[in-house]
Structures are given as C-alpha cells and as structure tokens.
Amino acid sequence: MYYKAETNDFTKFISKMDIPVLQLPNHKDEEWRFTNLDFLKDLNVNDYVNNPLDIFYKKFISKYSNIRELDILFINEAIKKYPDIIKKYFSKIYNHKKDFFCLENLKFINNGIFIFVKDNSNVKLPIEIDLSDLNDSYIFPRIFIYCSKNSDLCFTEKYQTKNEQCYTNIITEIFLSDNSKLEYTKFQNEPNSSIHFSGLGVLQNKNSYLNCNTFTYGSKFTRNNIFLKINGEGSESKLNGLSISNNSNFVDNHSIIQHSAPNSISSELYKGIYSKKSKGVFDSRVIVDKIASNTSSEQLNNNILLSKNASVQSNPILEINTDDVSCKHGSTTGQIDDEALFYLNCRGLDKLKAQQVLLNGFCNEFVENIVNENLKLELNQLINHSLNSI
C-alpha cells in the first residue's frame, strides 16, 4: 500500500519545489564509487505503510517546551512563523537536487522538527532526538535547526531501534549564525540487519563553531553523509567519527567540507575498528574555494582491522583553489600493534585484556572530543558494549 502524505502547508511547500527524478546511484557516480547499493533494488520502499512521526514529534516538542531559549515546533508551523528561513534554507543546506536519499526523504515526509535557538542563548542539556523506542520498519525523520547569533547549543540524535528490519533515512539541516556554537552528536546502535542512511548539512556563518561527532555501531548498511559549507570568516569546524563494525556490516562515512570564506579552520578525525567480514569507507573531500585564503584544514583517518577478512577504503581528498593555505591529510590502516600488546602483556595483562585496553584507548581519542560529560559517559558505555560484542 502506497502511503500518500496528508496534505498540509509543508507538503504544499514541497510540491512547489524543483524535484528531479533520480535513479539509485551506482559506482560510476563519484560520490558512491566505493558503495554498492544493489541490495536496495529488492527493497521496495514505495510499498510501505507509513506511520508518520507526528506523535513522536509532538512528544519531543512538549518535552522541551519549557526551555525559553528555544522555539521548537513542527516544520509545518515553521513555514508560517519563520517563512524567510524555510524559504531560504530548507533543503538547500543539504541539497536534494543531486541526492537520491534526500529526495526519498522528501517524498515520504509530511512534517518534521524545527528548532529555533534564540540570540545569545545557551542550552547545554543536551537537546535529544531519541528515536530508540520507535518500532516502525521505515523511519524518515527530518530536522532543521537554526542557531541564532551568539547562541550555544548541545544537540544529540540517537538511533537505537530494536526493530531488526528497520530502514532509516534521516536528513538534518543546521544553520549556524554569526558567533554561534553547536556540539552535535549522533549515536547509532542498531540491529545487524537494519539499514541506516543519514544526511547532515551544515552552513556556517562568521566566527561560528561546530563540533560534530558521529558514532556508528550495528546496521548491515550505514551511510553517513555530511555536507559542510563554511560561509563565514573565522569559523571553526570539527568533524569526528568512530565506527565499530562486525559481522558483514558496511559503514561508509562520506563528507564534503567546503571552505568558502577566508581564515577558517576545519579538522576531521575518523576512526574505525573492523572485525570479521565488515567493511568500511572513509571518503572525504575538503574543497578550498578561491576566496578562502588562510584556510587551515586537517583530515585524519585511522583504522584497525581485527580480521583478515575486514577491509577499509580510505580516501581523503584535498581540492585547493587558492594560495596561502595549510592543509594536510593522513590515513593509517593496520592491525593492533604487537609491540604495544607485548608491553601490556609484560605488565600482567592477558591477550584479551590487553587488546581491550588498546581498543578502548583508540576509541578514547574520539570520546575526548565530546565536551558534555553526560554524553561522554553514555558513549563510553556504548563503546564498551560494542567492543565486547565484536
């Protein structure tokens, strides 16, 4: 049964958008050359009976309704209340025109969450979108966050469904105004047979700061797309990721960071632990536009393979179109260091414990980027759980 979204202001708005028809991407597409999507051909997403997320959204809105620094509402309402923002940025920060999954998300949503962070506000709770309790087989969340000038927000997305067959396709768009700060964390801990597609678009204005952390565990297929555009001078962005992967799972961390203003800094640290027959991809492109002089950028990808059958494609790319920049990238993939294991053995720790200590250490370099202490604790528990399962 094909679900037809209920008509509302938002669906009318979408229907007026320029929406092309796109085929499922294949390896000939530059952005998908390491990732095989053939398995999706058998999965007819069109057949599903949609359960709109309205009830979930309602709960979320009411949970945080008492926070004065925020205005949280349905996107359907935001069209009337914040028309300029929606018209100017919705589906433009994360552009749907060339993106199959963003189009799919647009096709099935009839609403979403809009978070307006007011000027000079400071919200460090964090604000959490937690979809862990949803039991639906197909989930298409849509989130838009507008951070006003001088605001400071800590925001988290959690995906920990128990539904073995869950198919998630989420698009999150974030606008960071001048001098705003955001700590964004995404946890994924899903069953091994689930499919997870996530698209995050961020547009940064002057002197804004983004600390973006993505943790991936579980799911037979995960694609984390990040499009970050630095549009204002003096901005700083940190993109960090940790993937712990086992069985035959596949994790693809894909990002494009575009420096379109001078004097900005971006850094990426993506780490992966792969066991059994799991496969990983780190495919990241940093583009430095002609105008973006004095850019500083660093891409680093470190992977540990715990089995002969595990593999990683690591592909950090720099595209520099101006002078006077400092850009570097690096990538390492290997086994656990034998010398380090011997050192720990010599201190009385057996092979298993020594490996656990080293892997925990490897993960800690990711955890240390997270500022919020509660999130750190929660993430450490999740990492321990993941490491014990591989």
Binding site: C346, G348, L358, G361, E365
Partner: protein, 246 residues
C-alpha cells in the same frame, strides 16, 4: 631466583645469544654491560617472554620453575618485570587506568582483593612522590608526549607499584640527566630487599655508582665473557671493551 643455563637464541637464523649462563640469587643486583648489538636487549626480552626469538637450546628457570612455556603475562604475574629500553606510547590509554589494570591483574593472581579507585589513588600518590612525578601525570595517556626522562621514570613508577621479585632494567639510565638518574636510582634502591633481585643493563658506569651492584657481567657477541665486582665497571669505563678478556 633466576637461573639461566647455556641459553642459545637466534633471530631469523642469526645467532644472538651463544650459551648464556647467569645465576641471580634473591637480594642481588647484577649489572650487564656490553657494546651495542652484544645481545643485552635480546636477553631481557627473552626472559620477559617475547616470542619473536628462536630459542635453540638451554633453559631459563625462575623461582625453581622452567618458564619456557609461560606467556609474557604469566611471567609478569609470577614476578618478572621488564623496564623497557624504549617504553611504548599507548594513545588514549590513561596512566591511572593502565596502572590500576596492571596492579589488579597481579593482585587477582595473588588471591588479593582488587583495589577500588579510592584505594588505588591513595597508593599511587605515594609512589608518584618516590619518583618525583606530580599527579597531573595520572591523567595523561601512557608515554604519549613524554620526554625520554619521563618515560624512564614512568617505568620505575610501574616497577615500584607492581613490586616484582625480579626487575630487569634495560638501559633505564639512557637519556636521563643527572637529577633524573638520581631519582631513578633512588627509586630502585628504596625498593631493594633481601627477597627481590635486579638485572641492570647499562652502557655507563655512572648508574652503577648509585646502585652498587653485587656482580658486573660483560656481554660480548652473545656470551658473558667476564664477571666481576663493581670494580669491573670502573675498569670498563677506563679501558673500553676491547681490553676485556677472560
């Protein structure tokens, strides 16, 4: 404590140790001196149980037991400690977690109750003082960004925390300035008892001024060619290895 008989060791068919005999009794300090490439580090790694060497003959007994089949961790738990010549950096692993895991593994092996965070902190603070390190060290990752001297002090801190029966100090004095050398030597001297033993591998006599070994052995081409008292180290310093004969 330790009895090595006619030990022959090679790496990729290249002989490194050619018939080592060494007897270490409880309470003794033995110094092993020798040129680069004479086999000093191989000897310490083999005693600690590193498996990248081929043992072609001979035996190593520790406390009356042949340890040939024991893993490095079992040797460590039974009381052998190797202070590394080049201590390994462990990114992301903080010193508190590392030391507590090591100490509790040993306590568990000895049927002692494991220490909780508070008990451990109390213990480690007193040990830190002994090696002149401040508490900020506990939060740092093991040997990451440590100076040469800090790494060696860290080895001694681990040694006095784990309280081994036999400590092998592989060039622990290299890269130390005079003050750090005194601290390290002090740490070793304070932990000396009539029940534990030390094998000190060094190039220089100056460390031995502080440690006062019972025996000094000279290792050349994988063989102990001469054994004497502390005066042998002074002799070596003055005359060099080329004048050493049986």
């Amino acid at each position: 404590m330790l009895s090595i008989k006619n030990l022959n060791v090679s790496v990729e068919d290249k002989p490194i140790l050619n018939g080592i005999n060494l007897n270490v009794q409880p309470g003794e300090v033995h110094a092993i001196m020798g040129k680069n490439g004479s086999g000093k580090s191989t000897l310490s790694n083999v005693i600690a149980g590193k498996d990248t060497y081929d043992i072609n003959g001979g035996s190593i007994e520790f406390c009356g037991q042949d340890i040939d089949d024991l893993s490095p961790e079992d040797r460590a738990l039974q009381g052998i400690f190797l202070s590394f010549q080049y201590p390994i950096a462990l990114p992301g692993v903080n010193n508190t977690y590392f030391l507590k895991s090591a100490l509790n593994a040993k306590r568990k092996f000895n049927n002692q109750e494991e220490l909780d965070a508070v008990e451990f902190l109390k213990l480690i603070k007193s040990k830190l003082q002994q090696v002149g390190m401040d508490e900020s060290y506990l939060k740092r990752a093991v040997n990451v960004g440590f100076s040469g001297g800090e790494k060696k002090r860290n080895e001694i801190l681990q040694m006095i925390t784990l309280d081994p029966k036999l400590a092998i100090l592989d060039e622990t004095d290299s890269g130390l300035d005079i003050d750090a050398l005194k601290i390290v030597a002090d740490g070793i001297n304070k932990s000396r008892t009539s029940n534990n033993s030390f094998i000190v591998i060094t190039h220089y006599q100056r460390m031995l001024n502080y440690l006062k070994p019972d025996f000094v052995h000279v290792l050349i081409d994988g063989k102990i060619v001469k054994t004497g008292g502390p005066e042998l180290a002074l002799d070596l310093e003055a005359k060099g290895y080329s004048n050493i004969t049986d």
